[in-house]
């Protein structure tokens, strides 16, 4: 993908983040995700019904990359089963680490395919995924 288009997609998701509101999140699983090395700090809210992620919302303060990554992730995850989500994350992380990966429905998330070139920004991209994994573990532990 052309780098100008990538920038446009990232900026668009940063300026208009998807589901960045936490109205009516009663009954959602809440997790916090923050980067030790910087000041990104978001709260994620997940609704999981019968192993299907039916809604994800977020709130907090984070840089453009983290915010865009969260917004794009949420668009991609809603409607997926937990197994599909875990497979998606595994492939997405492989892409960030410059390993072999399969494009499991990445859609806009492909904009991060060259993030490995900027080591210090990888943690920005993975910030929401750290939170999602935490939330899924919490869901599975409480099942």
């Amino acid at each position: 993908m052309d780098s100008n288009l990538k920038r446009e997609i990232i900026l668009d998701n940063y300026s208009h983040p998807y589901n960045k509101n936490i109205d009516n999140v009663e009954g959602y699983i809440k997790v916090n995700s923050n980067n030790e090395s910087c000041i990104d700090n978001i709260d994620l809210y997940l609704k999981i019904d019968d192993d299907i992620i039916t809604d994800v919302r977020f709130d907090g303060e984070a840089c453009a990359i983290s915010t865009a990554s969260t917004s794009i992730m949420i668009k991609n995850l809603i409607g997926k089963s937990i197994d599909e989500v875990l497979k998606y994350i595994e492939n997405f992380e492989a892409m960030l680490e410059e390993k072999e990966y399969e494009d499991t429905d990445f859609n806009e998330a492909i904009v991060f395919d060259e993030t490995y070139k900027q080591g210090n920004r990888r943690t920005c991209v993975t910030l929401p995924y750290v939170g999602i994994k935490k939330a899924i573990k919490e869901y599975q532990d409480n099942k």
């Binding site: 920038r7 910087c38 000041i39 990104d40 303060e61 984070a62 453009a64």
Partner: protein, 397 residues
């Protein structure tokens, strides 16, 4: 000034994060290398020539450090840094004399290392940690100190200069007021000792902590200054070799005198020698000159930035080389990433003063912290890069 003394400046980099750590002049690196390559032995074991040479260098460093802040050599304890010093002060001294209900006064703009040790004492002993109110410029005024102290106040612990706002506190006046009320004063000198002259006798503070690496010395070494009679009563937090006189059984342990008693185990010898070389270097330049240089650069920045409406400096009033600002519509971390693309090193965040957001209403800022080797042309470049907001947004990712 003196840019040619710093090997780090041989690369294409504009370093504006001196509040975090500073570059080292070659003479400091050489002094440490000399120890490792020419007389690398342990201290206080002087049975042979090179070990004796270490003893002399180590104790000379202590004398040099003492002179630098106008203390006595036996009042200087080498530690791993200001954080270590503050923890020893809290846990080795105040833990033994404070009681439940006693009060420690700090402020909302203190660094974590001058907050968390007191929080721990609060949990351990039931003491109260309260805050001296900051004025609208986030400064500590003597009147607000007067208002805050009460019969239960036993300690006032403050940074000489804070690391976010860069305000200089009236430590001498605070010490006078505190001592009139039988209150101890602890000064976190991490941001002040490297930049402005410090005279502990004139200030009359009870304790002072600072780090070598923020004053062109090495990492991993710092100083705990305490008035002699107070250091005498510190219970060593750390026990081991070097600090004991003799021991035969649990009931027969005899410790050495201060300051050695508070330096258990093999110390950071190279670090202490490096610190001493850094002090020599600073004194050759003159702390007054360093201070003047930083304030002049800050004024230069303020003058150039004042027409750039999307940049807001939150600490214009402060007389130090620290500038904290925000950029409209851009997250501070993104400003830092953007500047990094042009090899400019600044810090984004809350700068370890996590409770300050309660006072300034701004959680995070971009911080520029200056030192002797920064120049007007570096400021020009910074201002040029900040002047176009759309460019920042375009290039921040």
């Amino acid at each position: 000034m003196n840019r040619e003394d710093f090997p780090m400046l041989n690369q294409d980099i504009i370093y504006l994060d001196n509040g975090a750590t500073t570059f080292k002049p070659k003479c400091v690196i050489d002094a440490m290398n000399d120890y490792y390559t020419k007389y690398s032995a342990n201290a206080h074991r002087g049975d042979y020539d090179i070990s004796y040479k270490v003893d002399v260098a180590y104790e000379n460093a202590r004398k040099n450090t003492a002179k630098f802040i106008n203390a006595e050599p036996e009042e200087i304890v080498f530690t791993s840094g200001a954080t270590d010093s503050l923890n020893i002060i809290a846990n080795g001294f105040f833990k033994n004399i404070l009681e439940a209900g006693d009060e420690v006064l700090i402020t909302l703009s203190e660094h974590a290392s001058n907050v968390l040790p007191w929080f721990k004492l609060s949990r351990d002993l039931g003491i109260n940690v309260n805050y001296i109110e900051l004025d609208s410029n986030l400064h500590v005024t003597i009147n607000n100190v007067k208002k805050a102290i009460n019969p239960r106040t036993k300690v006032i612990s403050l940074a000489g200069i804070t690391n976010v706002v860069g305000d200089e506190r009236p430590i001498k006046e605070i010490c006078r007021l505190a001592h009139d009320n039988n209150i101890f004063v602890v000064v976190d000198g991490a941001q002040s000792v490297p930049h402005k002259p410090t005279d502990v006798k004139d200030l009359d503070c009870d304790f002072l902590a600072f780090s070598a690496h923020k004053m062109m010395g090495p990492t991993g070494v710092g100083v705990l200054y305490g008035k002699r009679e107070l250091l005498e009563t510190i219970e060593p937090v750390s026990l081991g070799g070097g600090m004991n006189e003799s021991f035969d059984s649990i009931d027969e342990v005899y410790l050495k005198d201060i300051p050695i008693r508070l330096e258990a185990g093999t110390q950071n010898i190279a670090g202490v020698i490096g610190l001493s070389a850094a002090i020599d270097y600073i004194q050759r330049i003159g702390l007054d000159n360093i201070d003047i240089h930083e304030i002049r650069l800050k004024k230069y920045f303020m003058e150039k930035i004042k027409d750039i409406k999307h940049v807001h400096v939150i600490n214009e009033e402060c007389d130090s080389g620290i500038i904290a600002f925000t950029v409209d519509d851009v997250f501070p971390q993104d400003v830092a990433y953007y500047l990094n693309k042009y090899h400019i090193c600044v810090r984004a965040g809350n700068h370890c003063a996590k409770i300050l957001k309660n006072a300034i209403g701004v959680k995070n800022t971009v911080r520029v912290s200056l030192y002797i080797y920064n120049t007007e042309s570096e400021i020009d470049r910074l201002v040029e890069l900040l002047s176009d907001k759309m460019r920042i947004i375009r290039e921040m990712i």
